[in-house]
């Protein structure tokens, strides 16, 4: 009763179907394309949307990187990597610039991506209007009719209540001046990386059965009022306690010895790269 799994888990028919949805998504930037999301060997809500995209686009010569919350070694990233590797045998990497396909949850790497790369983001809630309207039938209409006053009103109410917009991650964006899109729960810090990105950005929501995309060199604008400009998370005066970086998204940690708050690069592979660069420079100076 044992069955062998196919290259990249899916049969070719399934891959083609998902690729068709991806093509449509690329053709209509920011529009959520419904697709017949399959049940995967990992749980719904654990990255099945991203995984289905990755498996349908990956080829034997690809190099894959998977991160979760910025870390290559996060348990779920490891689990996804393992599944793709077992069914494809593709090369794995942790170095952002070596990867041709990067699947990520909640982060876009600090290193700028290139035209030769595709980033696949896992999406829990693809509908940016869900907080405003519970019904899928209605939100679909609102997108079709370009009716986004609800989501603007939500931001306006936050300003009235708190004196500023109080969104955290997943701050909605305008794509190509037409569709309002959920960028997936990336921090606001990463929103600007979507704008005019050189790499193709694909977003997959497995449970909600939607695929959408930001093609390379597309305008992506975070929703903000004229007099309340969009603002990102601030780490003023903070730096990574390992590599010293300042202009990156930092994790807040408690030093177990001193009990003090310390900060550390959220993007682990970026941090290691910085450390290695420093070490190299030190070696060179000491021999110079």
């Amino acid at each position: 009763m044992k069955t062998n799994t196919h290259f990249a888990f899916f049969d070719e028919g399934s891959k083609k179907e998902i690729r068709r949805a991806i093509m449509k998504a690329v053709a209509i930037p920011g529009y959520q394309v419904p697709f017949a999301s399959r049940e995967m060997p990992i749980a719904r809500g654990w990255g099945t949307g991203g995984l289905q995209i990755t498996l349908s686009i990956i080829g034997k010569s690809d190099v894959l990187k998977v991160i979760d919350q910025g870390a290559d070694e996060s348990v779920n990233a490891v689990s996804i990597k393992k599944l793709v590797h077992e069914t494809t045998g593709v090369e794995l990497t942790e170095q952002t610039n070596k990867a041709s396909v990067i699947q990520s949850r909640h982060r876009i790497p600090e290193v700028a991506l290139t035209e030769d790369q595709i980033i696949v983001l896992q999406v829990p809630m693809p509908e940016p209007l869900r907080k405003v309207e519970a019904s899928e039938y209605m939100t679909k209409r609102m997108h079709a009719e370009d009716d986004y006053s609800g989501v603007w009103l939500m931001l306006f109410e936050q300003i009235m209540k708190y004196g500023k917009t109080a969104t955290s991650a997943d701050h909605p964006v305008y794509v190509n001046g037409r569709y309002v899109m959920a960028p997936s729960p990336i921090p606001r810090f990463d929103n600007s990386k979507l704008h005019q990105s050189e790499a193709l950005i694909l977003l997959g929501a497995g449970r909600e059965k939607k695929i959408y995309a930001v093609p390379p060199y597309t305008n992506v604008e975070s929703l903000a009022f004229e007099d309340y400009p969009f603002s990102v998370e601030v780490f003023e005066g903070k730096h990574c306690h390992l590599c010293g970086s300042t202009d990156v998204f930092l994790d807040e940690l408690i030093d177990p010895e001193t009990g003090e708050t310390i900060h550390q690069c959220n993007d682990t592979s970026y941090c290691i790269e910085q450390l290695n660069k420093k070490a190299e420079a030190e070696v060179q100076t000491s021999y110079a």
């Binding site: 399959r38 490891v78 982060r107 109080a166 991650a169 606001r188 450390l275």
Partner: protein, 371 residues
């Protein structure tokens, strides 16, 4: 020598998986697949129904692997299902042709064909049977032999009896509307994602593969007050129905040429729901509509609850969540609901950091205003 990444995640997962296996094996007992198949009928039926994959053998394997966790077993079956090629659709199944094991009507005492109680827990007293602790294969064999002897005393018919549908009898009386057969091909929700407003074929598919507990709870909510459907169970029937497929290459379709590929056991329910309709003279009349429920195996509660929800969703005008197709259909799938709930266990460090920043900024703003 540069810095290298730590491999904590990989090691932790390996250790966790090993520990899981240890938990399954540490009692030093093993259970045979066929033992599960012959003793855990309820679980097998439920797993097959919720995973929408009819295979008692695979269901038993899934139950073994999942150590009896239903959500896990259903998950395994679903994931396996999506790797299977599906080259054919069966011919329409005719539950009239069911080899009936059990068939009751709560609406009529004397239904044509008669009531057939069959095997049911309904009239057992729910007292723990401590004798089962010491049950042996000898005592089982003894009991089976006796039962066979008893059966021999019973007079049997020479031919297979046909059980007409209760509703057909009522249709003749004009209590139910007669409809033309609708032979529109159903949409396959596993090949095309559900769009709203949905078709009835889509709704029935989602309901029949719904999590038993979820379908039951929503059906109960409707019955108790949060809905407008108060049905009479017209008929519950449990039994085996034959499945046929047509020849894939023949252009001419002759039903005699269809291939019989096996039987599946199902529970089918038709509930009668009184509704007001206007007749041709613009007068109100009471009429009955049918709520339909069907699921793999013997799972009568789920099938009845499904028949309530089917009828609810036929009347979206009622202002209850049980009549809202998005509310019902998008939240009863076992794999989807357990998956999304359990994803909360995944790290959310980045989102939390972002939220923390947002809260701090707001606090700062407030302080600045106050000063």
């Amino acid at each position: 020598m540069g810095y290298v990444p730590v491999k904590g995640g990989t090691q932790a997962i390996d250790a966790s998986i090993k520990r899981l296996k240890y938990e399954r094996l540490k009692g030093n007992e093993t259970i045979e697949i066929h033992t599960i198949m012959s003793t855990m009928r309820g679980m097998i039926d439920q797993v097959m129904s919720e995973s929408s994959l009819y295979s008692p053998f695979l269901a038993a394997l899934a139950i073994k692997q999942a150590e009896g966790s239903m959500e896990e077993a259903v998950f395994l079956m679903r994931a396996h299902r999506s790797t299977l090629p599906r080259p054919y659709y069966s011919k329409t199944v005719e539950p009239e042709a069911m080899l009936v094991e059990r068939r009751i009507s709560a609406s009529f005492k004397d239904i044509p064909g008669g009531q057939l109680l069959g095997a049911t827990h309904d009239y057992t007293h729910r007292l723990l049977d401590f004798d089962l602790i010491g049950e042996s294969s000898e005592s089982i064999q003894q009991w089976l032999n006796n039962y066979q002897m008893e059966l021999q005393q019973v007079e049997t018919f020479d031919e297979v009896k046909y059980f007409p549908k209760v509703v057909d009898y009522l249709r003749e009386e004009g209590l139910f509307e007669k409809y033309e057969e609708n032979n529109t091909a159903p949409k396959d929700i596993t090949k095309q994602s559900l769009q709203f407003p949905s078709t009835r074929s889509e709704r029935l598919q989602v309901l029949t593969r719904g999590q038993t507990g979820a379908v039951t709870s929503l059906g109960y909510a409707s019955l108790r007050g949060y809905g407008q459907v108060h049905p009479n169970v017209g008929e519950v029937r449990v039994g085996a129905v034959p499945i046929y497929v047509g020849h894939p290459n023949e252009m001419e379709h002759d039903t005699d040429e269809d291939f019989y590929i096996g039987d599946i056991k199902v529970t089918e329910v038709e509930s009668f729901v009184p509704t007001q309709v206007k007749n041709a003279n613009n007068e109100y009349e009471l009429q009955f509509e049918i709520g339909y429920g069907i699921c793999y195996g013997q799972n009568e509660t789920k099938a009845i609850a499904m028949s309530i929800l089917d009828q609810c969703l036929e009347h979206p005008e009622a202002d209850f969540p049980t009549h809202d197709e998005e509310f019902v259909l998008l939240h009863i799938d076992s794999v989807e609901s357990t998956g999304f709930i359990s994803h909360l266990k995944l790290p959310h460090y980045v989102t939390f950091q972002s939220r923390l920043d947002s809260v701090r900024q707001v606090k700062k703003e407030v302080q600045e205003v106050e000063n």
